[in-house]
C-alpha cells in the first residue's frame, strides 16, 4: 500500500499558508514555517520536517494524555537507509568487544532477562530548536519532538554482566541497523561511559506501551537512557560494543555537544569553546491547553493544562501565571508515574475581563532546578527550556 504524497496533497492537509507559500506569495520568513502533514506506517498524521530519512513531529494537541499513544510519538532518524524490514528469525543483538564472551541474542534470548518497565519521556536534543534567537541550522523542531511512553525490556546492566566486562572498559558503544547512502557518511553510533551503562534503569526496550516498538521508533529493540536526551536511545539496535578507550566518532564528537559549563549556554551568536557530550534533559513545562491564540469567553471557567518533566528528577511543583508573570499560583499535579515520566498539571481559572492574556507555567524538579525566563543559547540549538508564553484572547 504505497501512498503518494505530492506537494499538492500537502497543501490540502497543511492548509492555506502552505498553499500560498508554495505559490510564492508568502514572505520568505514564513516560508517553511508551516510543515506538511503526512501519515506514515503505524503513525497518525505527523508534521514532516524531512522525508528521507523521516523526521516527524507530533502536533501539540496530541499531548493531552498522560501516556503518548505509539502512533503519535515523533520520529527522528539521521541516515537515509533506515530499516524497512526486520525478520526476528534473523535479527540478533551482538554484544562484544572488551568482554569475557561474545553474545548473540535473539528476541527470545532478550526476553529471558528480568523484565523491567517504567514510564519515561523521550525528547530529542533539538526539541524547540526553531525558537532559538538567533536561529540556528539543524532540524527545525517546535516542541513536538517529545513523548511520554511506558517502556519495557531488559536491563542493559544484566546483559553486560552476562557478557562480562573486562578490566579497562571505558565506553560502551551502540549501533543500529540504519546506515548512510554513501560509505563516507559516518555510521550513527553512540556511546555512554561504562559507569553510566551500569546504572539500574538503563534498558534495552522491546516494547512501548505494551506493544512491540513501531518500526519508525526502532523495532525490534532500542536503548532507553531515562532522563537523558533521545540521541543516546539508539533505535533498531544491532550491536553493543564495550571499548577500552573513549569512543569519539562523529556522532559523539563534534556532533551532539554542548558548552562545558553549568547552563550549557554561551552569549547569543558567539562561538563555543570547550564542549561535553549532551546528556541530562533540562526541566521543562509546556501548556497544552488552551493552545496559543485560542479565544475564550469572559467569566467562563477554563482549565489550564500541560505537562512538566525533568532530566530524571521528577517534578516538585509547577506554578502558573495568567497575567504574564506578575502573579503565580501553584498548579495541581496529576498522577505520578515516577521520576522519568512527565506529570500533568492543571489550574482552574475564570477570566473576569476581556482582552489579551499571557499564560505561563514554570516547573521545578526535585533537586531545585527550574526554568529560566529568558531563552538561553548555544550554537547547536539544544537544551531549550525557557518559561514559555501562551497568548490567548478573552471576549
Amino acid at each position: 500500500m504505497k501512498e503518494d504524497f505530492s506537494r499538492r496533497e500537502f497543501i490540502k492537509t497543511a492548509g492555506v499558508i502552505t498553499a500560498m507559500a508554495a505559490l510564492g506569495d508568502m514572505p520568505s520568513s514564513l516560508f517553511g514555517s508551516e510543515l506538511p502533514m503526512a501519515t506514515y506506517p503505524e503513525k497518525t498524521g505527523l508534521l514532516v520536517l524531512t522525508s528521507r530519512p523521516p523526521q516527524l513531529e507530533t502536533p501539540m494537541h496530541l499531548f493531552t494524555e498522560l501516556i503518548t499513544p505509539n502512533n503519535a510519538l515523533f520520529v527522528r532518524w539521521h541516515l537515509a537507509n533506515i530499516p524497512l524490514s526486520v525478520d526476528l528469525n534473523e535479527w540478533r543483538l551482538k554484544v562484544g568487544g572488551n568482554t569475557g564472551k561474545e553474545l548473540s541474542l535473539s528476541m527470545a534470548d532478550l526476553k529471558k532477562f528480568e523484565k523491567i518497565s517504567y514510564t519515561a519521556v523521550l525528547q530529542c536534543a533539538g526539541n524547540g530548536r526553531s525558537f532559538f534567537e538567533p536561529r540556528v541550522p539543524g532540524g527545525q523542531w517546535k516542541n513536538g519532538a517529545m513523548g511520554n511512553i511506558t517502556w519495557t525490556g531488559a536491563r542493559l546492566r544484566d546483559i553486560l554482566n552476562t557478557a562480562g566486562l573486562k578490566p579497562g572498559s571505558v565506553d560502551v558503544m551502540f549501533n543500529g541497523l540504519d546506515s548512510g547512502s554513501l560509505p563516507s557518511v559516518p555510521d550513527f553510533k553512540k556511546s555512554l561511559p561504562v559507569d553510566k551503562t551500569l546504572e539500574e534503569d538503563i534498558m534495552v526496550a522491546y516494547e512501548m506501551n505494551g506493544e512491540p516498538l513501531t518500526m519508525l521508533n526502532g523495532f525490534p529493540a532500542r536503548i532507553i537512557v531515562p532522563g537523558w536526551y533521545g540521541t543516546y536511545w539508539v533505535k533498531a539496535l544491532s550491536d553493543i560494543t564495550v571499548l577500552g578507550k573513549p569512543f569519539e566518532e562523529f556522532w559523539m564528537k563534534p556532533a551532539y555537544r554542548i558548552p562545558d559549563n553549568p547552563c550549557g549556554c554561551i552569549p547569543s551568536g558567539t562561538t563555543q569553546g570547550r564542549t561535553v557530550p549532551i546528556n541530562r534533559m533540562t526541566t521543562r513545562s509546556l501548556i497544552i491547553t488552551p493552545s496559543p491564540d485560542t479565544t475564550i469567553q469572559k467569566n467562563k471557567p477554563v482549565e489550564i493544562m500541560g505537562v512538566a518533566f525533568s532530566g530524571g528528577y521528577g517534578i516538585r511543583d509547577v506554578i502558573v501565571s495568567t497575567d504574564g508573570g506578575k502573579t503565580w499560583s501553584e498548579a495541581r499535579l496529576g498522577q505520578d508515574k515516577g521520576k522519568y515520566s512527565w506529570i500533568q498539571f492543571s489550574h482552574s481559572w475564570r477570566p473576569l475581563k476581556t482582552g489579551k492574556y499571557t499564560l505561563m507555567a514554570k516547573a521545578t524538579n526535585s533537586i531545585g532546578d527550574s526554568q529560566p525566563f529568558e531563552k538561553l543559547w548555544n550554537p547547536s540549538g539544544y537544551l531549550l527550556n525557557n518559561v514559555e508564553k501562551t497568548e490567548i484572547n478573552v471576549i
Binding site: F5, G32, P41, E90, S184
Partner: protein, 105 residues
C-alpha cells in the same frame, strides 16, 4: 548488518504501509514525498547533489541562513560526510542556497 533485513514475500497488509509475515517479521513502506525546490540559477545542481544522502526538505526547512552559514553547511557536507561535489560547484550551490533559502547575504 544487511543480512538482518529481508524482503518479505508473503504478507498481509494490515494498515497503511505496514505488513507482517507471521509474528516474526515486519516491514513498512514509506510514503513517497516529493519536495519542490524554488526555481533559480543552480537549482539543478542542488537537486542532483543534495539529494544523494537525504531529501531536499533538509534544505527547505532551514531558517534563512546567511551566506557564511550556507558555506559552512556545504563544506560540512563535503568534508565531513563526503558529498561528491566538484571543486567548481560549491560556489554556485552556495549562491543558490543563499538567494533562495537564505538571508540573501
Amino acid at each position: 548488518m544487511k543480512k538482518n533485513i529481508t524482503v518479505i514475500a508473503i504478507s498481509i497488509v494490515l494498515s497503511a504501509g505496514l505488513t507482517f509475515a507471521g509474528d516474526m517479521a515486519r516491514s513498512i513502506t514509506l510514503p513517497d514525498i516529493k519536495v519542490e525546490l524554488k526555481a533559480g540559477a543552480g537549482k539543478d545542481k542542488v537537486e542532483t547533489l543534495c539529494n544523494i544522502c537525504h531529501s531536499t526538505d533538509y534544505i527547505t526547512t532551514q531558517p534563512p541562513l546567511s551566506k557564511a552559514q550556507w558555506t559552512a553547511n556545504v563544506n560540512k557536507m563535503i568534508k565531513v560526510f563526503g558529498a561528491p561535489i566538484k571543486e567548481e560547484d560549491p560556489g554556485k550551490i552556495i549562491d543558490y542556497l543563499t538567494v533562495q533559502y537564505g538571508s540573501g547575504k
